[in-house]
């Protein structure tokens, strides 16, 4: 029950991040929304693992945390090849 409440809150914030990703006037707003989406996806995976009683989802969450940083840096490097 308590996991479901936190899961609903995280899913609502995922929807709000999607709104910013669609509205975002510049490319950096969209990258920022994608970065927040990655963090919230990690939290969603951890909470789903506890709701379903299968903590194996945490391995996927660790992978998502690393991919999130690499994805953000890769997009920023694509737009500014001389930096980073």
């Amino acid at each position: 029950m308590m996991f479901a409440a936190a899961l609903v809150a995280v899913l609502v914030s995922l929807g709000l991040a999607m709104v910013r990703a669609i509205l975002g006037p510049t490319m950096f707003d969209r990258v920022l929304a994608a970065n927040s989406t990655g963090t919230l996806a990690v939290l969603t995976l951890a909470l789903i693992g506890f709701v379903a009683g299968r903590p194996e989802f945490l391995d996927i969450a660790i992978l998502y945390t690393l991919l999130n940083l690499i994805g953000t840096i890769a997009v920023l490097r694509y737009f500014h090849p001389s930096e980073y």
Binding site: M2, F3, V10, R20, F28, L32
Partner: protein, 123 residues
Amino acid sequence: MAVIVDILSWIFLVAGGAFCVIGMIGLIRMPDVFARLHGASVTDTLGAGFIITGLVLQAGLTQVSAKLIIIMGLILLTSPVATHALAQAALHAGIRPKLAHDETGGHIAGAEAGAGEDESSNS
């Protein structure tokens, strides 16, 4: 004892969910990119921290809680790096922060418009 841990975990989970929603509301309502970074930081630190602390309290002293602490450490390491890279890339791309009073005196790299006016308005 188990009841106390349950109540603490419930408080942490609800606080984490509330901070996630608050941060994302900030991401929508803030005026420009550099201000929106604050909202994303609230979600990355307080939201994720509280939710993972609540899950660790539920898991107890097991392998699951070790993995959760690894996830928390990775988020705390990678989120400031991504935020800093994003802010620097936005500044290099020519986006300037919206300032009510330019207290840097126009010293932000590449900012050229209206330095004299801002100095007179500061004094």
